[in-house]
């Protein structure tokens, strides 16, 4: 039987970005050597260095940069230049008006309804992808008919919204010319993924319910290829949080969230299996219409031989460690406040945050807070470590203060290294930790400090939690188990579709 082939799609992660999703992708691909992968990474720009060494069973990478390019054809390596040139000159305004405008109108109608009919949305995405196989993307999306249709549709939509509700009022709901320009420019970027021809494989596997899922949706509609969707975080929630910053641009926020919701719902609808990394994620999936029977939770796993326990150097000062990037969602400010409280009674304790700076402005805020709390000598932060196992082994207590998580690797890695853990009760953390550590309400630095102090003062309790945590990882969260579950899923869905 020909080997299984998988089209794996990512967005802002593997193999060009670090983080939990990338770690997961690398581990899965590395540990399924008989499966052939085609990677389709959606990237923010094309000039990023690969963070992961190429693996032998990755047969092809089809990068899709959304920004950092003047037009998509700059990075279309498989298509000869002559063909690109011909396609440009074969795309006239009449062709756009006759062939693309009706599709785009249906597309915008779906977006305005936030993807209430995901089947219809999927079909129009397929037709748009087929259109872009014949016509030039840049010429089409930058054309007068597209702009005029977009403007008319959005004016009609926002007019209807102002009539439907008195709040927030036309001042915020009716788009300015700038709103329309920005919104259509964003759309131009996000729909670049339609300018790619996804290859035919046994199975497709999207690592987010996001734009990277679109090639999987169109492959399903075009070839009948089964689709798996793994949600590490909840993309829709993350985008809601990100776009909440658009305080002054309500129309843009509304348009983008409608678009993203439509894409997310289409992902849920077309996936044959939705495999979130924790039960917590299923809340958003179920709330957006995913049938329960489609959902199969597959927890992340770690290699217990790599994340193995080792005795701590008892002569070293007591040490509380977090492995988290410096990012508002990791709530390093609460970590700092916890450190300040703990050191009131435990002045010898060191605190460290091992993780790169993801948000420079937030990092500056944390540095200011550290200074104000007189913790400059007590708390080290802002640098990643190449020896993450060593970082856990240094710790007496591992502390996670995130305000948003799915199923964090940092928790199960620390558990595997047999460390006592205090973690915020968010996302799937409680599913990982259960009674093997202490869960605390997020942002409650008094409760965090009390829990950390308790563990620092009671080595027997610490060891009990730590041993329980290690046992739980060996029983429930081994990497081999996680990989086995995905491989079984590939075989189940792809057996009949193995492609030579």
């Amino acid at each position: 039987m020909p080997p299984l082939s998988v089209l794996m799609t990512t967005e802002g992660t593997y193999p060009y970005g670090a983080g939990g999703v990338s770690t997961w992708c690398d581990a899965l691909i590395r540990n399924t050597p008989d499966v052939r992968y085609v990677l389709l990474p959606i990237m923010m720009n094309p000039h990023i260095e690969r963070k992961f060494e190429p693996l032998a069973n990755i047969r092809r990478i089809v990068p899709v940069p959304l920004w950092g390019i003047e037009e998509p054809s700059e990075f279309r390596s498989g298509t000869p230049f002559a063909e690109l040139y011909e396609r440009k000159h074969a795309t006239g305004e009449d062709d756009i008006a006759a062939e693309f405008v009706p599709l785009f109108r249906r597309f915008l109608d779906c977006v305005s309804e936030a993807g209430a009919d995901p089947a219809a949305f999927g079909r129009v995405l397929l037709e748009m992808e087929s259109y872009f196989r014949r016509r030039d993307y840049n010429v089409t999306m930058k054309s007068v008919p597209v702009w005029e249709l977009f403007r008319a549709t959005m004016e009609a939509y926002s007019g209807a919204m102002t009539r439907a509700s008195a709040l927030p009022g036309p001042e915020h709901q009716l788009p300015s010319l700038f709103d329309l320009t920005e919104s259509l420019r964003w759309l131009y970027r996000f729909l670049i993924v339609l300018d790619v021809e996804p290859p035919k494989t046994s199975v497709t596997h999207s690592t987010a319910a996001a734009f990277c899922g679109i090639p999987c949706i169109t492959a399903k509609l075009r070839y009948g290829t089964p689709m798996i969707l793994t949600e590490h975080g909840v993309y829709l929630r993350e985008q809601n949080l990100f776009l909440s910053r658009f305080r002054r641009l309500f129309f843009c926020k509304q348009f983008l969230l409608n678009l993203i919701t439509a894409v997310v719902r289409a992902n849920y609808f077309f996936a044959d299996v939705v495999s979130p990394v924790c039960h917590y994620n299923t809340r958003w999936e179920l709330a957006h219409g995913t049938p329960q029977q489609k959902i199969r939770v597959i927890y992340n796993g770690v290699d217990p031989d790599v994340f193995a326990p080792a005795p701590r150097n008892v002569s070293a000062p007591r040490h509380v460690v977090a492995t988290a990037r410096i990012d508002p969602l990791k709530d390093i400010e609460t970590f700092l406040r916890v450190a300040a409280r703990v050191r009131e009674t435990h002045g010898d304790v060191r605190f460290s945050v091992f993780g790169a700076v993801a948000d420079r402005e937030y990092y500056e805020r944390c540095l200011t807070l550290r200074r104000e709390l007189h913790l400059d000598d007590a708390v080290a932060m802002g640098e990643a470590t190449s020896d993450i196992v060593g970082a856990y082994r240094e710790a007496d207590v591992v502390l996670l203060t995130s305000i948003s998580e799915a199923f964090p690797y940092s928790v199960i890695e620390a558990m595997s290294c047999e460390r006592a853990i205090v973690a915020s009760d968010v996302g799937g953390v409680s599913e990982a930790l259960e009674d093997c550590g202490i869960l605390v309400k997020p942002r409650d630095h008094a409760a965090f400090a009390a829990a950390v102090s308790k563990l620092l003062d009671d080595p027997v309790l610490r060891e009990r939690y730590a041993a329980r945590a290690r046992r739980r990882v060996l029983e429930e969260f081994r990497l081999a188990g996680s990989v086995h579950d995905y491989l079984e899923l590939y075989r189940e869905l792809g057996e009949e579709r193995a492609v030579a």
Partner: protein, 537 residues
């Protein structure tokens, strides 16, 4: 072990909902829907257990729906900040800043001209050079400027694109690669020139080699200028020119070097200094990023294709600027000096054209102001106007454009007056060759025709820069290409049938056509500015 909250009494739940709701609204302004509210509740640290026990709702989603519903019932106040206030700058100050910035481009030429007139030497050229050498230098200047024009536009266009993307490593890569490709192409063009001369004996070899030497030095200078412009240090053009001129004067006046040697010193200083400034500035840009090599640069074929239209525009525009000289100096019709070779400089013609260039210098600041104001005001204007009121916005843009044209017209009269004043002032200089050229019967007609032509050119340039600002490079290329054909056509016919100086009629005719075409194209763009601004980037 987990931490569950203690329940509030049901009567307090409604007040608690309003309290948490107002916190959410204060964070985000206007919620789009309940999902946005739910996401905010989660990052405020709430869980489904809290929704049940504290707020009497089944889960966070139900709580979010309740909050969103009450928001639409007007239960919560919301505030959305306006745009950050722009710092007030007095209109006269704003105008002067932009005007001076625009003058920076022509200031080096003006300084060079002044130095030649006062001390007799420039970086290229000297007042007492014989006409053979003068013609060679003129040929080299024109050839290098035309060939470099295309490369300069392509390098700057692509380099600025990467700088705006915060890809400074790529900006440096494309700038230096472009420079190197351009230098090789420009040098390679010497070979066919030599072959042409060998086959047809166009010019004496001494003149050819002099021209080649100046061509190479000037080509490098123009390419360096484009790198300096890319890193936004155009204010250093004047400084570098001044230093190079000082080197020329030291060589000539103190060390009594012959004019060609003094020029060579000046060009060497200008080339070295400008290259050093460019490379150091590019390296400083990259240092912030911490990387040395670009990652995954674009396909060469697509890179060349995407910059090719800008290359063509630069090539055509620079050709336009000097087409009349080439036409005028390659015919003996009406010449007083019986040109011995196929290409022969006419000092009278050049002087008259240089006087007319004063109009360009004076108006360039105004054009710069006009384009900068357009760019600065565009986004704030688009933010203020609702799309349903776009017609008023577009009408306003056309009205502003007409006002700028009127202002440019008034400024043109002033510019001509200044140019005339310069010519009167020049009559006070005790240089016989200069006075003879000023007094020649062709000088004033050439000056007046060229001045009028340059006024039309500045009108055209204002609109062409508008088109380029909005990435309408095809329209800009069309305007310049057609105008060039008209320039060459009229200039060739007049110079061959009437008088060599009739070449200047091509400048007038071509510029009038360019002004008309560019104005038409710009008005078309302004009438649909909403679309063209979207499509520009």
């Amino acid at each position: 072990m987990s931490a569950d909250p203690q329940p509030f009494a049901p009567a307090e739940a409604a007040a608690a909902i309003d309290e948490i709701a107002q916190r959410v609204i204060d964070r985000i302004g206007v919620p789009k829907d309940e999902w946005e509210v739910a996401a905010q509740l989660e990052v405020l640290g709430l869980r489904d257990a809290d929704a049940r026990l504290l707020y009497g709702r089944r889960d966070l989603f139900e709580l979010a729906r309740a909050i969103h519903s009450r928001f639409h019932a007007g239960a919560y106040s919301f505030f959305v900040e306006g745009e950050d206030p722009r710092p007030y700058v007095h209109p006269a100050v704003a105008f002067l800043r932009r005007y001076v910035s625009g003058l920076l481009f022509s200031a080096p030429m003006a300084l060079q001209a002044a130095t030649i007139l006062i001390w007799g030497y420039g970086i290229w050229g000297a007042i007492d050079l014989d006409l053979t050498k003068g013609s060679a230098i003129a040929l080299a200047f024109i050839a290098s400027y035309i060939v470099a024009g295309g490369f300069s536009q392509a390098i700057v266009r692509r380099g600025l694109f990467y700088i705006y993307q915060q890809e400074e490593v790529l900006a440096r890569w494309v700038a230096l690669r472009g420079w190197w490709v351009a230098a090789r192409v420009m040098l390679a063009l010497i070979v066919p020139a030599l072959l042409l001369n060998a086959l047809f004996d166009v010019l004496p070899w001494s003149m050819v080699f002099t021209a080649i030497a100046y061509y190479v030095a000037l080509a490098i200078l123009w390419l360096n200028w484009s790198l300096i412009y890319l890193v936004r240090k155009a204010h250093l053009f004047l400084t570098i020119t001044a230093v190079a001129l000082a080197a020329v004067l030291v060589a000539a006046k103190i060390f009594h070097a012959p004019p060609l040697v003094a020029n060579a010193v000046g060009l060497f200083v200008a080339d070295s200094l400008s290259f050093a400034v460019a490379v150091l500035s590019l390296n400083a840009l990259v240092k912030r990023r911490g990387a040395a090599q670009p990652v995954n640069p674009p396909r060469l074929t697509v890179l060349v294709y995407s910059t090719s239209r800008f290359f063509v525009y630069g090539l055509l525009y620079n050709t336009y600027l000097f087409a009349d000289r080439v036409i005028a100096w390659t015919t003996p019709v009406g010449r007083e000096d019986f040109p011995p070779y196929a290409f022969w400089l006419s000092v009278r013609y050049e002087l008259a054209m240089d006087l007319a260039l004063v109009v360009v210098v004076v108006l360039s600041g105004f054009v710069e102001y006009s384009i900068e104001r357009f760019s600065e005001e565009l986004i704030p204007s688009e933010k203020r106007i609702k799309s349903v009121d776009a017609a008023a916005f577009l009408a306003d843009q056309l009205r502003i454009d007409r006002r700028r044209s009127l202002q440019l017209g008034i400024a043109s009269i002033v510019a001509v007056a200044i140019a005339y004043g310069v010519s009167v002032a020049l009559r006070l200089l005790p240089n016989p060759r200069l006075q003879e050229a000023l007094a020649a019967p062709t000088t004033v007609p050439i000056f007046l025709c060229a001045a009028a032509g340059y006024i039309f050119l500045m009108f055209a340039l204002r609109n062409i820069l508008l088109l380029l600002t909005l990435s309408r490079v095809d329209a800009a290329v069309r305007c310049v290409a057609i105008a060039l054909l008209v320039n060459v056509g009229i200039g060739f016919v007049c110079s061959r049938s009437i008088h060599y100086a009739g070449a200047v009629a091509g400048v007038l005719g071509g510029s009038m056509v360019m002004a008309w075409l560019a104005s038409h194209a710009a008005k078309r763009v302004l009438a649909r500015l909403d679309y063209y601004y979207y499509a520009a980037f």
